[in-house]
Amino acid sequence: MKNNCLVCAEDIRKTFKDVQALKGVNLSVAQGEFVAILGPNGAGKTTFVEIIEGIQTPDKGSIYIKGFTWKKDAREIHKLMGLSLQETIFFERITTLETLRLFASFFNLDENRVQRILDMVTLRDKAQARTAHLSGGQRQKLALGISILNDPEVLILDEPTTGLDPAARREIWNILNDLKMKGKTSLILTTHYMDEANFLCDRIIMMDKGTIIKEGSPAQLLKESGKANLDELFIYLTGRGLGDETVSKTY
């Protein structure tokens, strides 16, 4: 393992046709650390985390997860990683419980674990509901449940609360906070909500146009910049708010 980092990303670059999505991004996450990658739409957050997740391959740069690389040790990494994608689609006519059981079987987990997760993500009353009939918040909770099934050392969530109402967001935060208390899991979370990053994470990485523009703990960032809040800092750094787009097209 490289200098005590659980997840190491070194100089990650990725270009799509004419868009330079990532222009050399570095990241290291320590064990038990909660990191937020904060940035507006199109900043390159999804591309970056999907490269860490082994779903996309970088044009340049390397990823080490607990010292493993995707090329050689995909199975090991899969076992210690949990993730949820930005868009969450399940088998439509399968129930919540059946979905959890399916993913549990991939990790060789038993029914006890499935039942535990059902309680952890507070979906017990929706256990028999088909995934197509779940609300946005319930779907996100199910996605989160799947991602933590294998009790991952590395958890990567791509915008887990985007589009949810405040109550549903709060529920997700509580689940993640419980996880943080246990201290066994490292989290990489992408978001464009400043309050989410601030509330959940030890460290905030501000990203825009494929580069990291600032990083540090919430308190550190405020102190150094002298701004009243983090939203203002972001506007100060980029000239735009987090809700704005960096590029004209949404992705």
Partner: protein, 366 residues
């Protein structure tokens, strides 16, 4: 192993909880077979009339047949007696035959007026049939009447005319194997190909792959589920046809089952191949239609492909659906032994395997 079992369970549930599957996979083929089978099996009663003339010195076999086997009814034509008999035939449906007993002169008159189409007369030399060979109705009437009479009369039964009773000559007999083959193709192409493309485009495959799930298990579960479903669909269609249309399976069920498996495997492999690249549902739908529609038209599902021009025959004959349907048809209608269809089974299996390997080589999971 638990992985595989769960995957199969999920795939089957996903399938049977879709009301469309019951409708399109089971209801639709049965309805279509029923509709087409009825439409082409000429159920309405055909009335066919024939004059019987008994000349001097005959053995009276015609007269005797009529008197012994038919029922006399009132005749509207002067100087004749009319007898009726209804007979079911496989090839020509239900026929009501009118036998007019008449003198030679009256019989010719009846023929001229179009009341009868066949004139059967008997003298010391035997029975003679007269009719206009260009008149199809007359031909069929002759065919039926002669076989009725001659089969009944031992002394004249030299060359038994009996093609009418041979099983497997009706349109439904032709249609059902065609529909079974088409069902296999459609079930695979939509159930595997479309489903893979859809799940790829919705990023479901991507999510599954971000776990230690075995890719081969996923594909296997999809293929297995389709075979299972296809088996149920085909069984229901065949059972319905056996019950309702009295379809006879002349070959062995083993041969039928093996052909079913080989056909399923052929189209499963083909489905993997056609689904190997595209992420777009629209393009996927286009590709599937582009490969299934020509085969549906050319491979002889609804009518014989021998009607297509000579130069097209070699191409048509080697389409996978043609091979499948021809083999199913032979097994169901002609009853060959397993050995004589083994070549076709092998070709289908090899075709499927080649497509599967090629498809996997270029397969994009997301």
């Amino acid at each position: 192993m638990k992985q595989l079992a769960r995957l199969i369970e999920i795939q089957i549930k996903e399938l049977i909880r879709d009301p469309g599957v019951i409708l399109w996979g089971i209801g639709f083929p049965v309805l279509m077979a029923w509709g087409l089978g009825l439409a082409f099996s000429s159920k309405p009663i055909n009335i066919r009339s024939i004059a019987i003339v008994d000349n001097l010195n005959s053995k009276h076999s015609l007269i005797n047949y009529v008197l012994n086997n038919t029922k006399e009814v009132a005749s509207k034509v002067a100087q004749t007696r009319r007898f009726e008999q209804t007979i079911e035939t496989r090839a020509y449906g239900t026929n009501k035959l009118n036998f007019y007993l008449a003198t030679p002169v009256t019989a010719v008159q009846l023929l001229k007026r179009g009341i009868i189409v066949v004139l059967a007369s008997e003298d010391s030399d035997g029975v003679k049939y007269e009719f206009d060979p260009r008149n199809q109705d007359a031909q069929i009437t002759y065919f039926i009447a002669r076989s009725m009479i001659e089969n009944n009369l031992k002394e004249y039964a030299l060359d038994k005319v009996q093609p009418i009773e041979v099983s497997g000559t009706r349109y439904v007999d032709f249609l059902i194997p065609g529909m079974v083959g088409m069902g296999i193709m459609m079930s695979c192409m939509w159930g595997i190909s479309y489903s893979l493309i859809e799940r790829r485009s919705k990023k479901l495959l991507r999510r599954l792959l971000a776990t230690p799930m075995k890719r081969s298990y996923y594909l296997f579960s999809q293929i297995f589920t389709r075979m299972f479903m296809g088996f149920i669909e085909a069984s229901i269609l065949i059972a319905f046809s056996m019950y309702y249309f009295k379809l006879q399976i002349n070959g062995s069920f083993l041969a039928l089952f093996l052909t079913f498996l080989a056909g399923n495997w052929a189209f499963s492999g083909f489905s993997i191949f056609t689904a190997s690249r595209t992420t777009s549902i629209d393009i996927g739908t286009g590709i599937i239609n582009a490969v299934t529609t020509p085969m549906m038209v050319l491979s002889g599902v609804f009518f014989s492909y021998h009607n297509f021009p000579e130069w097209a025959q070699p191409v048509i004959k080697y389409l996978p659906l043609t091979i499948l349907i021809d083999t199913l048809r032979r097994i169901i209608l002609e009853g060959p032994d397993l050995i004589s269809v083994s070549k076709e089974i092998l070709i289908l299996a090899i075709f499927g395997t080649l497509c599967f390997i090629a498809g996997l080589k270029i397969f994009k999971w997301y």
